[in-house]
Amino acid sequence: MSTAPIIEVTNLHKSFGTNIVLRDVSMQVAPGEVVVIIGPSGSGKSTLLRCLNGLEKPENGDIRIEDRSLMQAGVKITEIRSRMGMVFQQFNLFPHLNVLRNITLAPVQVRKQTPIKAEELAMSLLGKVGLLEKAGHYPASLSGGQSQRVAIARALAMEPQIMLFDEPTSALDPEMVGEVLAVMKELAAEGMTMVIVTHEMGFAREVGHRVLFMEQGVIVEEGTPQMLFDDPKQERTRAFLSKVL
């Protein structure tokens, strides 16, 4: 089994104006691994995730995805992104396209799939997230949980190697969180490499292979869910967990 990391972040530094968001962050993700990032608001966890597919540009350090650096001049960022799905807190479905077209647009335009092949895949993904009957609907008619499941199907339609989740359940009503987490759990069980920023501690413990705790732009502590939740080594981790658990 190969142990070469699929994501490798080295000494990443990022600031917005005078506000330093990431200080010298390094981390690795192995293929098939599910890494969950937790931490208080403003800790830099979302920024770290957004750096991974180039939505934020770090000032210093290196990010390698499948051994290709994002920081190199002339790197084909669109190509790297097309192999990496991203799910956003606010879903960001395309409101002018129906569910099916939301899912097929990128495979047809970016991967140059035939519309028929793209639709076949889209329908099978809609089946997987339990929304086959919504194919012809527009995003405005979907609930939050349904929207997020469509967004996951849309990202999966590119057949990515990695899935990034940026607080996927934070904008959902409580009764809809479960349906989205169930889809993510299934993905994890299939061996998808996933990096998840979340406030769902129960989910992190159950599904995560490894948990990172971030605060003030640094990774304070990392380990298996058991290590981090049951026996945190750092005082800051303990303080955070006592507030959220």
């Binding site: 669109t78 990496m84 991203m86 956003f88 960001n92 479905l93 002018h96 990128a106 335009q109």
Partner: protein, 218 residues
Amino acid sequence: MHFRFEIIFDYIPLLLKGAALTIGISALAIVLGSILGLVVSFGKMSTRWYFSWPISGYIHFFRGTPLYVQILIVHFGLVPACIGHTDAIVAAVTALALNSAAYTAEIYRAGIQSIDKGQTEAAQSLGMTSGQTMRFIILPQAVKRMIPAFGNEFIVLIKDSSLVALIAAPELMYWSNVMRGQYLRVWEPYLTAAFIYLILTYSLSKLLGWMEKRGVTG
């Protein structure tokens, strides 16, 4: 006041011919101005100063100076410099299109920038280029929001096209002036012209209202 309908009937063929030219000039200027305006708006939004600065200057000039002055500059300066002699209709279309582009550019810019940033991020995260993002995600949503502003701009343009009578482009206002000169009457030519302009702008606003409604439902 005695309103002489018979002189209106005398002049109706010329006034209609003028109105047809008004429609032609306006329509051509709208089409050219909208295309140029899209290009200008991309220039304005460019992060490269050698695009955005000249474009800003262009927008400031055409929004900050009277259309009357612009028409004269184009008619006596720009058009002769380009084709060797001047031509009232070419000058009229050019001046109105250049002027309109400066306004439609701002409509495009406002429409494009009103689309949530999350839309761009979602498109990019799927591997789309910025061109694909603009074409498939941003513009289709932005155009819908731009329709009311475009409607206003087109109506303004039809009304402003009356100014090209100054350079003797034989449109509606030109023939109204001729009519006044022949009969030395004020009410008949100008009220008739006003009435025809009203029909044009009213039909256009109805058409755009219909398009907007249709655009929203699908």
